[in-house]
Amino acid sequence: MLSCSSDTQVRDAKIIYWSSNNTEEIQFARYIVDNWNHNNPLERVMFQPVPEGQSSEEIILAAVVGETTPDIYSNMWEGDVEAYAQAGVLIALDTLAGFMDFLHERCDSFVIAEVTSIDGHIYQIPWKINPIMMIYNRNIVRSLGLKSVPKTYFDFFEAAKKFQKDIDGDGYIDQWFGYSEVLVTWWQRFFDFYPLYLAASGGASLVKNNKAVFNNEDAIKVLEFLREVYKKNYFAKERLSARQDVFLDGVIATRFTGPWEISHSEKFKPKGFDYSFQSMPVPDDHVGPVYTYGDPKNIVIFKTCPDPNLAWRFLKQALSEENESKLLEITNQLPRRKNLDSNPKYAGYFEKNPKMKIFAEQAKYVKGTDQSPVLKEVFDLISQEYEACVIYGKKTPREALNDAEKAVNLLFLK
């Protein structure tokens, strides 16, 4: 596990830093740690990728239980932070000198409010995001005679109606306008209901002050839209994920996904395949910016850290504009900072990667998650009702939201 560090580094290290264990992030972490160690030989940082496991969340949980946490962890899902904060295993970063100035300089007030814990402290540094957008096949959009890619629910339905087809004539649709996993697993809603809800509502919360606040007209519109999409067979109800990539195959024309799709598509796309990204579809009467889910991964310092101030100094350097330019280049993931698309430091990268520029423009309007220690259960309960309403049509959107609201509020009563 210590392959990235020499024995000397391990012995002398004052801080232990865990990054995600994907190749690009390991490369980036090595870069920032080597730089730091070169300039600060007396305050060395030891880097390790998070140990292999079923998921990094599981590993972090095991480390917390075993009190073997690193000092810094840089890939914490925003929705997990509140539970750890309430368990008292994280350092309140707003108590560190200069942290709030740094945060105000880095993020706008919307983001700061989002990462502020229920107790008023801040336990995480907003680090990177992968906004969910709609990827679409430009050739198909052109072939349907559309002026532009659908932006509203009405346009989406119109395009979907034109595209759906029973190719083999067996009486069943086998070419759909879009696809989203129908599994009830809670995080699948990050790719359909949740970004659509954020888009329709202008980034509204699901839960606030230990109360469900998602039972509103925007959520109804989203469920009505999705319900119609499945009822009219514009999306497949079957799981297509085991098949060859259905988007690159032209079986579907759109999908709600993140920037990771770019490297995959570039690698496997057939000749002549042309694609781009667009914000999530919104209700026909929508005004204002179109928000989406940002899938934020943030940085935390654990209470086991012997020198939080040193950890903070290292992080401040790691999150410099220059280093985040490297983050973009190496990992193709967006740093969560103000004016990302207009900062001249990143202009070169976006010129070379024009599709990432679309995500950088969207980055102004992304939201992570609400602060709640039972967020997974909230998503799970919404997902159960989503399935009953959207996929199987057993409940109306109003009934589904009423039931989800009741169930979520029960969680907070415990």
């Binding site: 949980l61 917390v64 239980v65 539970a83 750890y84 309430q86 368990a87 008292g88 295993v89 067996d170 009486g171 069943y172 086998d174 129908v182 599994l183 009830v184 697993t185 497949a236 109800k237 079957e238 799981r239 085991a242 098949r243 039972v374 997974k376 259960e377 799970d380 159960q384 399935e387 009953a388 996929i391 199987y392 057993k394």
Partner: protein, 284 residues
């Protein structure tokens, strides 16, 4: 003194193993049933509230019903097919060894692999089964997407996976039937069916009961198939009891509640097996 210690030393490996891996986990999980614990925060004593919650938890009762539906389909299917195939494989047929091995093959293949393969067969639009149905002019079936079909589909798949093991058990049972019984029946002019129902079945009765018990215990632990194939859906129609306990424990980290569900479920299996055991003993 030394003489007194030696017996304890000799049994100590078993005792240590029993204490560390059986007694402590069981004792600790029973203790957990009276507490709320999410692993990262300190335990909180809650008395009988986990038990109260269990009796009000509609999804848990649904998961028990789902498990029961699975057992009702799976056990008879398993016995009928295993017995039929064992009877065939007990005849003097060509490539008997090959067929015996072939039917046993799914048993040793990983459950996850089998599940993923069957997922392809069960696909609504592209699955082989539905293509076949459409070819012969029938409507497609939502094997895994229709709440009425999903659990039976899983039961059929589980039968295919496990039938090999029970074929072997039945083969052993069939080979213990004395051949002179059949010879005597043949002299009396008994047909194949008469021999099967009047001689074979009564003689392998203990094997049948053993298969019932093993399939019941195996069926109660249904987990991999719905976990990989359906995630418990559609509309919670394939949430098995074990899948639900797993979800409460390792998904929400409700360790106290998951222990309560596990403890209750273990008592339920114990009761069912005791009833079955009573039948076997009566039979003997």
């Amino acid at each position: 003194m030394r003489k007194k210690l030696i017996p304890y030393l000799l049994v100590s490996p078993y005792l240590i193993h029993f204490i560390v891996f059986v007694a402590f986990p069981v004792g600790f999980s029973i203790y957990l049933t009276f507490n709320n614990w999410n692993i990262i925060s300190p335990m909180e004593y809650t008395g009988l509230s986990n038990y109260k919650r269990l009796f009000q938890d509609a999804i848990f009762w649904k998961s028990l019903l789902n498990t029961l539906i699975f057992l009702v389909i799976h056990i008879p299917l398993q016995i009928i097919f295993a017995l039929l195939l064992a009877e065939l494989l007990n005849q003097k047929i060509k490539f008997r060894g090959f067929f015996r091995a072939a039917f046993f093959l799914p048993v040793i293949v990983s459950g996850v692999v089998v599940t993923i393969l069957w997922q392809q067969l069960y696909g609504f639009d592209t699955g082989l089964l539905n293509r076949l149905l459409v070819k012969i002019g029938l409507a497609k079936i939502g094997w895994l997407t229709d709440p009425n079909w999903s659990m039976p589909s899983i039961a059929v798949m589980a039968t295919w996976k496990n039938v090999g093991l029970y074929i072997v058990l039945f083969l052993v049972g069939l080979q213990t039937v004395p051949p002179q019984y059949y010879e005597a029946a043949e002299l009396e002019g008994a047909t194949h069916l008469q021999k099967f129902f009047r001689i074979t079945l009564p003689m392998i009765n203990p094997t049948i009961f053993m298969v019932v018990i093993l399939s019941t215990i195996g069926g109660f632990s249904l987990f991999i198939e719905p976990y990989v194939m359906t995630g418990g859906g559609p509309l919670n129609s394939t949430v098995s009891a074990v899948l639900y306990i797993y979800k409460q424990g390792f998904f929400y980290y409700h360790m106290g509640y998951a222990s309560t569900l596990g403890f209750f479920f273990a008592l339920l299996i114990l009761a069912v097996v005791m009833i079955q055991k009573k039948f076997i003993e009566k039979d003997k």
